[in-house]
């Protein structure tokens, strides 16, 4: 495998350079999706080898056969976010001596057969992952949301039921009418003022997991490195907050896919670090994830303030986000725990943020950013005794 790994060196460095330059072309995003598809396949095969001789043998075999006869369909299904979550959950259970949930795979396989035009045995009420629930009349599909603006389209599933998309937090109302309307408004913002980011979101974001609402200026949002394409989100208060959350979370998904190709940090580095957006000390890899997402958020607010120079919120967010992203990236850069590709990414992002730090913002926005940074730092130190910053 060493020879094989050497073959990918140039590609991994190139990808890190392109992340820095925001050069996320459709070819690169297609490649990352392909990586995620094959990562899922690999994890499914790892599960299969540990459960040979069970009732699930036929389901594993059926999936492999369907892929031979309809590779395009299976490429669509095997990259579903719940597939990675399910496989990792099985491997975790097997490691801990527990029974894996093989019934889920049997349902998934039946759903794939159904999509391929076959007639699998499915009783009324059977849940089919990624597709819906089987009823007397046939499949009742999971709701789909669609948005279109400035020639760019977005299509996602609104999945509030899949058990392997439950790890993001308490799930909330899945009213497709409400989410459709709000997604349309956010998509308009993205396509009008963040067209390049919108293209990336369109290529990556496939599944919206609704979270319980909260009465705050910013929605709760989350992604998982095992669930490529899924974004969990509580109802956003306005289209701009919705748009910002999509940018934020899609950048996590993109870096998660890159992490599956190449280690960006030393996996043996057990140290914990201050991240100005978290209350707990974070591992270096998680700090880097937050840096990358905050870099994208900073770019979002930079574009917003250029589009709406009179809006105080955009100025304040830009001032704050560039400051905390620069601070955390500086910490990561000096950690001594980055690999070569990790250094390319971190130092490249630092270079870009360094230029943005020179862009003037109103004094009130700078003051507010400093207050927030100081307040967070003080709270963090008081809740994490023994740590220094």
């Amino acid at each position: 495998m060493r020879w094989l790994n050497e073959c990918s060196a140039a590609e991994t460095y190139e990808i890190c350079h392109r992340l820095v330059d925001d050069d996320l072309t459709s070819e690169l995003l297609t490649r990352l999706r392909e990586i995620q598809l094959h990562r899922n396949q690999l994890l499914v095969e790892a599960v299969r080898r540990q459960v040979r001789g069970t009732d699930a043998d036929a389901a594993f075999r059926a999936l492999a056969e369907l892929q031979e006869s309809d590779p395009r369909l299976m490429a669509e299904l095997l990259v579903l976010p719940q597939v990675g979550c399910w496989a990792v959950d099985c491997l975790r259970r097997l490691r801990d001596g527990e029974d894996p949930d093989l019934g889920y795979l049997v349902s998934f396989s039946a759903g794939a057969a159904l999509r391929a035009g076959r007639r699998p045995q499915l009783g009324p009420g059977a849940f089919v992952p990624g597709l819906g629930t089987f009823a007397e009349s046939g499949l009742v599909p999971i709701p789909s949301l669609h948005a279109q603006a400035n020639g760019l389209g977005l299509a996602v599933r609104l999945d509030a039921v899949d058990p392997y998309l439950a790890g993001f937090g308490r799930r909330g109302e899945a009213d497709p009418v409400w989410w459709q309307r709000e997604l349309g408004r956010a998509w308009q913002v993205l396509c009008e003022r963040h067209h390049h980011a919108a293209g990336t979101i369109s290529a990556v974001f496939t599944t919206l997991v609704p979270l319980e609402g909260r009465d705050r200026a910013r929605p709760a949002s989350a992604t998982s490195g095992w669930a490529y394409g899924a974004i969990a989100l509580s109802p956003p208060p306005d289209p701009i907050a919705f748009a910002e959350s999509l940018v934020h979370e899609v950048w996590h998904l993109v870096l998660g896919a890159v992490e599956d190709m190449v280690e960006l940090t030393d996996p043996d580095d057990g140290r914990r670090w201050y991240a100005p957006w978290r209350s707990d000390p974070r591992p270096l890899g998680a700090l880097l994830q937050g840096c990358f997402a905050n870099f994208a958020i900073t770019a979002f607010w930079r574009a917003e303030r250029h589009a709406n120079p009179a809006v105080e919120r955009a100025e304040a967010e830009f001032a704050y986000r560039r400051a905390i992203a620069f601070e955390a990236l500086t910490r990561a850069s000096g950690s001594g725990g980055l690999t070569g590709p990790g250094e390319v990414l971190v130092n490249g992002l630092l270079g870009r943020l360094g230029e943005w730090l020179h862009e003037p913002v109103p004094a009130s926005a700078e003051r507010r950013a400093a207050e927030l940074r100081d307040g967070h730092r003080a709270r963090w130190l008081s809740t994490n005794p023994g740590f220094s910053i």
Binding site: Q67, A217, M261, E263, D268, R313, I324, L372
Partner: protein
Amino acid sequence: MGEPAHAVGTGLAELTDMTLLQLTELDDATLDGLVSKILGRRGPWDRLWQEDANNGAVPCDG
């Protein structure tokens, strides 16, 4: 400068032309090595990216 990339690639990038059927032919050592690099040294790790509740957010009203 950290390690060169050939030492840090997970090996996944080179397997993207394999189907589920072909993966069944992969030897155990190669598969285990790939999977352990993807899952992390200490087994499946938590890869949940989640900002603390409103932590760091600038209030809309200023």
